[in-house]
Symmetry: C2
Subunit: 520 residues, 2 copies
């Protein structure tokens, strides 16, 4: 079988990545393009996830799915379509979600003069909405599944595509169709449902920090920012390199709202008929966007090793045919030895592409480690290891930094060092992001400081006291484009932000600070 080419962009595409400092939004798009992760499609707002981008999503899925199963959940699949009448049942939910949906109204096409058109006679009696989220269709089913406390809890997750007709879209971060998982659980008691809501937020935070290497703040949304139909919305918030917040996952305590609108009751142990308690929780392909914006640099994509589809790329370097034979033999051996350690290894032995172009390509795709194998390395019995990144030092030049990324290591030692090096890189990425977040967080007590933080200093996480109402939140949004990202859990508040105080806007007393930021 010939060489698979789908996960490489043409190696001749050497357009560079716009620096972050020059144009951050363009940098983001360039990283995606050069990393060959995704692209826009001819369908408004829908993206094509290309093989390298999808491989990252698959790794995320596996890590998340393992965690869902370890906490007792099982997967299932519910229909893509929701009958329109279902949305009328849960008005509050519908008001929040049903506005911008794709609606199926016909079920047949026909040919007219060689052109394919919608057959007007195939109009549906009841329009079908493409699921923007599945609470209504799933709870209609749970009604049949739940009779007594013995049928509870139901702990189901679904991996699916959903559609929200977004006006302004951005690859991964906000697309009309996106891929996600949605957990929908049913419980006999409020306490159990509340516990589940918190448990799944912890699962998301664990994934974000220990797999994606993105530090997050756990907290709850204000009433105005809650999921439509929820009594409580918990979230994890990350901070991107432009100082904007990104909501990376939410877990909702839905109380008995959906049970009531779908009339789902159960016979309790005490023989009483009661409404069931619900949760729902989800993360999406937006996480790929968070990954890009947290770790990548002006050379392109940077991936935490735990989510890298390829850990190590091995590149043979030679001039003559004699050299080629020897170098290829060694490169093949090195690749095989690393594969036997369970690592994902790519031997890039493509002809007709200069090594430099290969370096450039794999760096842009975020492969954590590169091994160069040349005649001199063979002679010396060493390998040339190049890390995708090293932590920057104060006042270092780009050249010095590049030099530090590269080391020549005796062969055996090199082979043994790969796994520990990847572990180090995983830790360093998280640490670097944590340091960045600390730098871009500020405890703020006055409106003047708040204004200048966002107007002059680029903004970030502003830790402020807040006691305003929903209208006053809107006022802040209008004036500064900031929102309350979350009311952090007490253990998430850094020392310097702890304690009571007065609302930054109203001066009213406040028991704890919240995080305000601009957000995606």
């Amino acid at each position: 079988m010939s060489q698979q080419n789908t996960n490489k962009p043409a190696a001749t595409d050497t357009t560079s990545v716009t620096p972050r400092a020059t144009n951050y939004p363009q940098w983001y798009l360039d990283v995606i393009k050069r990393g060959d992760l995704a692209e826009n499609s001819p369908v408004r707002g829908c993206m094509v996830i290309k093989p390298h981008g999808y491989a990252i999503w698959e790794k995320m899925q596996r890590e998340l799915d393992d965690r869902f199963k370890a906490t007792g959940h099982v997967n299932a699949y519910f229909p893509l379509f929701i009958p329109l009448s279902f949305l009328t049942k849960e008005e509050q939910h519908a008001a929040g979600f049903a506005k911008e949906c794709a609606v199926v109204t016909h079920h047949r096409l026909k040919s007219v003069n060689g052109e394919v058109v919608v057959d007007p006679e195939s109009k549906l009696d009841e329009p079908l909405v493409i699921r923007p989220t599945s609470e209504t269709i799933i709870w209609a089913q749970y009604k049949n599944w739940i009779q007594s406390y013995r049928d509870l809890p139901i702990l189901i997750n679904q991996w699916a595509n959903v559609v929200r007709w977004e006006l302004r879209t951005r690859l991964f971060l906000r697309t009309t169709e996106f891929l996600w998982q949605e957990g929908h659980t049913a419980h006999a008691t409020e306490a159990e449902a509340v516990e589940e809501t918190a448990r799944m937020l912890d699962v998301y935070a664990d994934f974000a920090e220990n797999v994606a290497a993105v530090p997050v703040i756990k907290g709850r949304k204000t009433p105005g920012e809650r999921f439509a139909g929820a009594l409580d919305t918990l979230c994890i918030e990350g901070l991107m390199q432009d100082g904007k917040a990104l909501q990376m996952g939410t877990s909702h305590y839905l109380g008995q709202n959906f049970a009531k609108s779908s009339d789902v009751t159960f016979l309790s142990k005490e023989g009483k008929r009661e409404y069931v308690y619900a949760t729902s929780w989800g993360v999406s392909t937006r996480l790929v966007g968070a990954l890009i914006m947290t770790h990548s640099d002006d050379n392109g994509l940077v991936l935490p090793p735990k989510l890298a589809p390829i850990h190590v790329v091995v590149i043979p370097i030679f001039k003559t045919d004699a050299e080629k034979a020897l170098v290829l033999e060694e490169a093949t051996k090195v690749a095989a030895e690393l594969k036997s350690q369970g690592l994902a290894v790519k031997l890039d032995d493509r002809d007709g592409i200069m090594p430099g172009a290969k370096y450039y390509e794999w760096e842009a795709k975020g492969v954590p480690l590169r091994i160069e194998v040349g005649p001199k390395d063979l002679e010396k019995g060493s390998l040339c290891l190049v890390r995708r990144f090293v932590l920057e030092k104060e006042g270092e030049t780009e050249q010095e930094l590049r030099k530090r990324r590269k080391t020549f290591v005796p062969r055996m030692e090199a082979i043994a060092s790969i796994k520990p090096t990847l572990d180090t890189m995983q830790r360093e990425l998280f640490e670097r992001a944590r340091v960045f977040r600390t730098k871009r967080s500020r405890v703020i007590n006055t409106m003047e400081e708040f204004e200048s933080y966002f107007a002059k200093d680029g903004g970030g996480f502003a830790w402020v006291h807040w006691a305003g109402n929903h209208e006053q939140e809107d006022e802040m949004a209008k004036r500064f484009e900031t929102t309350i990202r979350c009311i952090p859990f007490p253990d998430q508040i850094p020392e310097e932000a702890k304690g009571e105080g007065k609302c930054i806007l109203t001066g009213q007393p406040s028991t704890q600070r919240v995080i305000m930021a601009r957000a995606y």
Copy 2:
């Protein structure tokens, strides 16, 4: 975390399964219901895949995905929506597929007097079709990805949901929305594309026989039965227990049809601009239907161990509290020892459910092995192993057969025997299905015999010579409800069916026999 209940039906549901001989279609539905695999949804023709059914599909996905990756393919994701105009581009394809599609015409809802309705002002300029298959949208993208022979081959697979507005639906076998995978590859030469088409059919046949334990015949469809837009459609055909054929997977050689309609050309090594060659191939959740109809019996679902979400269920049996403590300790140990062998084990220690009800439940769910642990087993140092099935012997009573399923084995020996027993059961299921197929296959040379085979003898695979045209195929379908399932590859033809002959209908000379059968 409390006991997960979603993959059990209420143990109190002891409705029995309709015997196959009484009513085969009802038996099929009963097996699905008692096995808790899937159910109809409120959305016309769409099913809900319940956790136990979805777990089987997940195991299928993993096995198939591993095989796709081992043959050099990568996964990606393309939009759910296809602009209507794309279907006009490939008329032949559209004519075959576009007839019964879900069509999105609006993108917004609004509330009117507390009722949610479609906002007429949100009408789309161009309707969007929910993908019935993705050739058109994928090839529109490939156009941007392919410039030279260096960009080929593209070997992409997609796991996705698709929608075909079916008039008559049946759980798993034919549903309006279904889950599948669709491979879409692009090649520089006809030879390479033809080779790919055959390779993927082999992957499907390998999966069907060695994982699903369903024997299949590999062959090609007649021109009238080809995929819309294909030059050649290869397929694997299984034979279900009612003597009907089931198409279990198809692999299409598309020639340059889609490249031409989407204008996808490449610069060859020789510097010529040429159209790209294409293949596509797919299998779907229909495979779960094939699994059910090949192996299950009048007690419910039977699963090949390689696709069983649970390999072994351990059931403690006791009367007194003292017995309970001892028996539970032993059952927990047994389960742990088996888990450490990499087996999927369920310890069913639910209170308040009689052992008999548990046996019944797990048998209906197709768990291959049950281990009963009671006080007597503890005393003797043995375990009671019960197999979900054993091969039937001629003239055996139901009671004798039930007895043979159960053995008492010294503990250590029992633990060591589980894996080999599962391997044996996997082999036996395949063998049993192969014997069944042989019994229900017949070499037929006259129309009289053909008629009586399907009218009186229940039918099956009829090996007949055929030289008719498309109209004559339709004639056979009208008279006997039979179709040509495939023109088998030469190596698939049994000895007694080999050789040339004369068409059963027209008497014209024919070079080889085809398989005619009734089909799902």
